[in-house]
């Protein structure tokens, strides 16, 4: 009774962790079964799948031979791998390394799926990867916009509307002036202006930020659709901007696989890379970022050391709007070449998911966007390839991936503590 105050720690049973472990194990086994019995049985025995790793028609650079794999064997090997990992997961778990294992299983399964889809023919893997990055671009712009706003404590659910408004104004101003740089600037300004509306509603009037953001989304969707059908139909010349041309970077674009993916894009891609680096540096290594994060985490603490909380939030929300506006311009000035109503198709919301999945960091958000971009690219390519999956199902893939990722992995990262909460001086 006298000395030993500490007793041996009780055996802790963390039910939630055990449940997660079991679910994962079962999921791996299901994936193994799906690979073996659905994919493995569904192809000609002896067929092989050919993956092209060099973009068709590209000159220069190193020659990489296509990757040829025996389809059935590959699929069964992957099924075996998933089954083994599933069994281990069920029996003893992987401890803190479970995320790595999850990644391995998912990548392996996707590869098995591609092998199945490409059995007996050749498929441009590099094409899918290139498209992945292109699809990830607007998502990342959206996610960066979210990072800027939410790090300062304002939830920006209006990214979708800002992308859409940016796409529209980029196309119209770009065509009207005949100068796509002016179009880009206009898109940025419109994005910033919409963000200004959000900021006034959320910060000045302390309106519920979800409602304020939704209002802006509806406004942007309605207004652009209306103008597109009423004005752009009649004046086609206002919807024919010149797209920004690709600028392959010397040397870098010759690197196998990585070069075509990241260094052969147009100005949007390089702007994005600069932004990712800049925002990362600014948030985590500068006075500016320290103050922004303090405002997003504990605004009263920031206030008591003389930081202007409301100003910080206004500024960041508007900066976020500008970034989203630029991201929106990508749809018309960087990719499609003309405005179509609702052309963003929820990419702003997926950007929010990427921001969360990426732990409210620019680099994490980019990596997460690549995951979503891949799902999007897969969908696009497979429907062209005419794989034996209904196209309606394929269209669901990016959104399904979003749901699975957000439901399964979110809650593990911590959001800024004051995110979404209006600040009021007592």
């Amino acid at each position: 009774m006298t000395a030993a105050v500490q007793v041996a720690p009780a055996v802790i049973v963390d039910r939630a962790a055990i449940r997660r472990q079991r679910i994962l194990g079962v999921v791996y086994l299901v994936m193994a079964a799906a690979a073996a019995f659905v994919l493995g049985e569904g192809i000609e025995p002896g067929a092989s799948s050919t993956f092209l790793l060099k973009p068709a028609g590209s000159q220069g650079g190193l020659d990489i031979p296509p990757l040829v794999v025996p389809a059935t064997l590959t699929i069964y090997l992957i099924a075996g791998l998933c089954a083994a990992l599933g069994a281990i997961q069920l029996v003893r778990g992987f401890g803190s390394r479970w995320t790595v294992v999850l990644g391995v299983v998912v990548v392996a399964f996707v590869f098995a799926f591609l092998t199945w889809a490409g059995a007996g023919r050749s498929m441009s893997l590099i094409g899918i990867l290139q498209l992945t990055v292109q699809k990830a671009l607007p998502i990342t712009f959206g996610a960066l916009s979210g990072v800027l706003c939410e790090r300062s404590g304002v939830v920006n659910i209006a990214i979708e509307g800002m992308l859409l408004a940016g796409a529209f104004s980029g196309a119209v101003v770009g065509s009207g002036t005949g100068n796509n740089i002016i179009g880009l600037v206009a898109a940025a300004l419109v994005g910033g202006a919409l963000a200004g509306v959000l900021a006034v509603l959320a910060i000045r009037y302390r309106m519920n930020q979800i409602v304020a953001g939704t209002v802006i989304n509806i406004l942007a969707a309605g207004l652009t659709s209306f103008l597109a059908s009423r004005v752009l139909q009649a004046h086609r010349e206002l919807n024919e901007p010149t797209k920004f041309a690709s600028i392959p970077l010397p040397l870098l674009s010759d690197i196998p696989i990585v070069g075509p993916m990241f260094f052969s894009g147009n100005i949007f891609m390089y702007m994005l890379f600069v932004l990712i680096g800049l925002i990362h540096w600014a948030l985590f290594h500068t006075r500016w970022g320290l103050r922004v994060r303090a405002v997003g985490e504990h605004p009263r603490a920031a206030d008591t050391v003389g930081i202007n909380v409301l100003f910080t939030r206004y500024r960041n929300v508007i900066l976020g709007g500008i970034v989203a506006g630029v991201g929106g311009a990508y749809f018309t000035l960087g990719s499609t070449g003309s405005f179509v109503h609702d052309m963003t198709g929820g990419r702003g919301f997926i950007g929010l998911a990427a921001m969360i999945f990426g732990g409210w960091t620019p680099i994490g958000a980019f990596l997460a966007s690549l995951v979503f971009g891949f799902a999007d690219a897969l969908q696009a390519r497979l429907s062209i390839l005419g794989a034996a999956v209904p196209s309606e199902f394929l269209l669901m893939v990016p959104y399904l991936v979003t749901i699975v990722v957000v439901a399964g992995l979110v809650g593990r990262v911590r959001m800024p503590a004051a995110d979404g909460m209006p600040y009021e001086k007592e």
């Binding site: 000395a3 007793v7 500068t286 320290l290 303090a294 985490e297 008591t304 007592e426």
Partner: protein, 522 residues
Amino acid sequence: MRLELRGITKRFPGVIANRDINLVVEPGEIHALLGENGAGKTTLMNVLFGLYKPDEGEILIDGKSVSFHDPGDAIAAGIGMVHQHFMLVPVFTVTENVMLGVESVRGPLGQQLDRPAARRRIIEISEAHNLRVDPDARVEDLPVGVRQRVEIIKTLYRRSDLLVLDEPTSVLTPQEDEELFEIMRSLKASGTSIVFITHKLNEAMGIADRITVLRAGRVIGTTTPEEASLEKLAEMMVGRRVSLVVEKKPAKPGATVLEVDDLVVRDDRGHVTVDGLDLQVRAGEIVAIAGVQGNGQTELVEAITGLRQPVGGTIRIQGKPVRHAPRAVLEAGVAHVPEDRLEDGCVPAFTIAENLVLNTYYRKPFANGPQLDRDAIEREATRLVQDFDIRTPSAFNPVSNLSGGNQQKVIVAREFSRPVHLLVAAQPTRGLDVGSIEYIHRRIVGKRDEGAAVLVVSTELDEVFALADRLAVMYQGKIVDVLDPAQATTQQVGLLMGGSRPVGIVEAEAAGGLTHVVTSGG
């Protein structure tokens, strides 16, 4: 720095928080600002710190009139404030928190944080005043005592000449209090003036050079520890003679009502905060748990009342294992006065009447099938408002309009007015004035005398000693000892609360001949 407040008046809608306040703090002086909760101490300091604008009056620093529009102005004038609720960003490191707002920067753009430079200065300051702290630790991982040191370093980093400490001891153990007083003396010796806000009389007497007493927003008087006495200060503070001793007869414990066995509970962040805890409470006795906030008391109470699912161990009430659902626990005859009365105790926007039936509304006589019986509810509410002396114009005012003391009375009325076997009261008098404290203590003892088992959890040692028949000390998720309050001293309990075990206790236990229902190994 010589600070003078002249005729400060601050009004809020419906209240005058400060009324014509005059106060002088001399250079190198520790000036205690003594008053009950709601006396206007914190408001006054927020006026000084630029968080509120005074409606009348002026602030003079070294004889010159100044006006502060925001805390930045106050900081620039050399005023540092350690708020009662720490103003630290939990996910930042100590260095980041300290430098926030006055960052050292470098680089060609003059924007990049210079963490090493800030770190060096923090180490200098912490060595000069014996403020031990790891500059690279994340604040959320630090115990409250250390967080307070970070706050003090924060003010010194800004070269403050006048330091305001708002109720600094409310989160500390008695030993940490002593450390804090040492730091205060060291700062005073280096010429810093300190305003020490407190409602604890003996602290004011122990450390202050001068004491100013505030009551209901007015200055009642300024005195010195030499001239004053505890009794005199108490009278100035409350406005009448007070007795803080709860009158109670010796307990007549009966059968065991609450039996907690090897309980393990996690907090919201997944940390184990109750760690193999054993506890028993018998009918007709009050077991009071003392402990520094954050040692698992909150989670323990939530587990017992069904609000939180334990991860291990058992809880039995009258021999039966409880289902971990608030309704099931309630039906098993448990009353609960929660720690955070506005968050968990009532619905502030509902009327008093609605709040009074918040856990019985679904039963007769308050409900007929799915429909509420408004008349029955009104009759009950009127009766309880009278019985429990709830000061309100009517039972149909929203609870949010009541004072803290009356809000607590609503909860007490609801929980105490039905027959229960077990009463669990967490921080039952937090933030209440002395009158309400007396009243609620009497009611708790009354519940015991009716034969209920009572478990009180409090961070206030005075309260624990006043109420306990048995005094349990909780530290890091375990009950480290159970003492007889008649034998134990605050010193002993304080050491136990801080995790160390004083040698003297062994003899005290032997002499007291206590029956240890609770053991903690060894």
